[in-house]
């Protein structure tokens, strides 16, 4: 294994501003996604994800602008997701400077969207984002996990593991696997979910949801994740990217180290 495990911070962006409390020292403007992106780049982030949570699609122009400004200043890959519904949306984000585009709800409504987007732009830039949660009782799916929408509030009854496999077959080049049960708990990643999805897809899997301490990251990789994502623990400075990489390296996984960190 020579490919390094990617460590990816995720920023929630609303109308061009970073939301959900970023608490970094020494930033002139902690709400500016571009400045945060530069900070994470300097700290050794291997990739960045912007999740656009702007409510109205008519306000997306600010998103394209910050994607464009970020791509001009940050020389690591940038994925942008949130509200991507059409091939035109994908096109505009890629033209603005995104390297990959995350697709979630729109693919649940119309799975062939993944095929159309991958056919036009290549699988390498299409990320299927899966918000999964455990099912109970009569709602059980075969894997015990279902796909949710609306930030985990609405269940779809679709088996999350089968959906990830189907998404990869339809053209997604990567799976962003978010455990809605683990999200926000800081109790660690849902390694069972990761293991189940890893077993059925051959595209890279990004594990997301639940990171609370540096010790949480190696088990996610052990379960089969190619990349690990976290948000608030990075934003609040509770964990640094070099610390995560240190823990991964200690567990025997290859990481990308950069000068000084």
């Amino acid at each position: 294994m020579t490919l390094s495990v990617r460590v990816i911070p995720c920023l929630d962006v609303d109308n061009g501003r970073v939301v959900k409390g970023v608490n970094f020292l020494n930033l002139t403007d902690a709400g500016d996604p571009v400045e945060l992106a530069r900070t994470y780049d300097a700290a050794g982030a291997d990739e960045l994800i912007f999740l656009d949570i702007t409510a109205s699609s008519s306000d997306r122009s600010t998103t394209y602008e910050i994607v464009s400004r970020t791509a001009e200043q940050v020389f690591i890959p940038l994925t942008v997701g949130g509200g991507v519904r059409t091939v035109d949306d994908v096109d505009r984000l890629l033209r603005a400077g995104a390297d990959k585009v995350g697709i979630n709800t729109a693919a649940i409504a119309r799975p062939e969207f993944l095929t159309e987007a991958a056919g036009r732009f290549g699988s390498q830039c299409i990320v299927l984002s899966v918000d999964a949660r455990r099912t109970q009782g009569e709602q059980n799916t075969a894997s015990g996990f279902e796909v949710t929408t609306h930030g985990g509030r609405v269940g779809t009854g679709i088996d999350a593991v089968q959906w990830a496999a189907r998404g990869a077959e339809l053209g997604a080049g990567e799976i962003l696997l978010n455990s809605m049960d683990a999200d926000g708990t800081k109790d660690g990643f849902d390694t069972e979910l990761i293991r189940l999805v890893r077993a059925v897809v051959s595209v890279p899997v990004i594990a997301s949801g639940g990171a609370g301490s540096v010790g949480d990251f190696p088990p996610a990789v052990h379960a089969g994740a190619d990349a690990v994502l976290a948000a608030s623990v990075f934003h609040f400075g509770e964990i640094t990217i070099p610390q995560v990489k240190g823990a991964l390296a200690q567990a025997g996984y290859p990481i990308r180290s950069i000068d000084g960190v």
Binding site: F75, V203, R256
Partner: protein, 212 residues
């Protein structure tokens, strides 16, 4: 020394935004264009490319890319291919059973890697020859790859005569593949230097020093 003038070839493929800025950061004056004369005459020509081999080759041909590359190389003027912009320099590419003719600057075929996880996506190490100019000072760094297809063999072994042998840099994902080629004025990388942070900028800077 004035900064070298580089044309970033705009034929409808690639993240031109990042490539332009990374080249500028490395010290180039960059023009993004598909203008034939400008592309032939610039100090350096960068051919980007993402997506499918066939689509890139169609776009490149539509902009007279293969002719422009030939013109430049016949005059010894540098060309840098990136990602699929490297792949199309080979004789042909095979994706999903579609066999597409490439620019045929090098013999050999670009086809699917054999690996447990594809695309090969992320930061990988490379094995550069010690006399590489492209990797001077950065041979131990990681570079950002994203691709499922690659040249898994290098078929042009050596030249007879005065021309220097091409320098081949290898990387491994499931199996070895060609990560970069330095072949006189024709240079190419399978990875994305414009997405490879400081190491990528240093590589572009090394390439710019080869222009003049």
């Amino acid at each position: 020394m004035t900064s070298p003038a580089v044309v970033l070839f705009d034929y409808g493929s690639g993240n031109l935004h990042s490539a332009r800025r990374a080249l500028e950061r490395a010290g180039a004056r960059v023009e993004v264009t598909s203008d034939r004369e400008r592309a032939v005459n610039a100090d350096g020509l960068v051919v980007p490319g993402v997506g499918a081999f066939a689509a890139c080759m169609a776009g490149l041909s539509g902009a007279e890319g293969p002719w422009i590359i030939d013109q430049r190389l016949s005059g010894g003027r540098p060309v840098l291919g990136i990602c699929v912009g490297m792949q199309v320099l080979f004789e042909r590419g095979v994706e999903h059973d579609v066999d597409t003719a490439g620019c045929d600057q090098w013999p050999g075929v670009v086809d699917k890697l054999t690996a447990a996880v594809l695309p090969h996506m992320g930061w990988n190490t490379v094995d550069a020859p010690k006399d590489s100019r492209l990797f001077q000072g950065i041979a131990d760094e990681r570079f950002y790859f994203v691709h499922s297809y690659a040249a898994r063999t290098w078929e042009l072994d050596s030249f007879s005569g005065p021309t220097q042998d091409p320098l081949i840099t290898w990387a491994t994902h499931g199996e070895p593949f060609v990560a970069a080629v330095e072949n006189g004025p024709l240079v190419a990388t399978q990875f994305h230097p414009e997405k490879s942070g400081e190491a990528g900028t240093a590589l572009l800077r090394n390439w710019l020093t080869m222009l003049g």
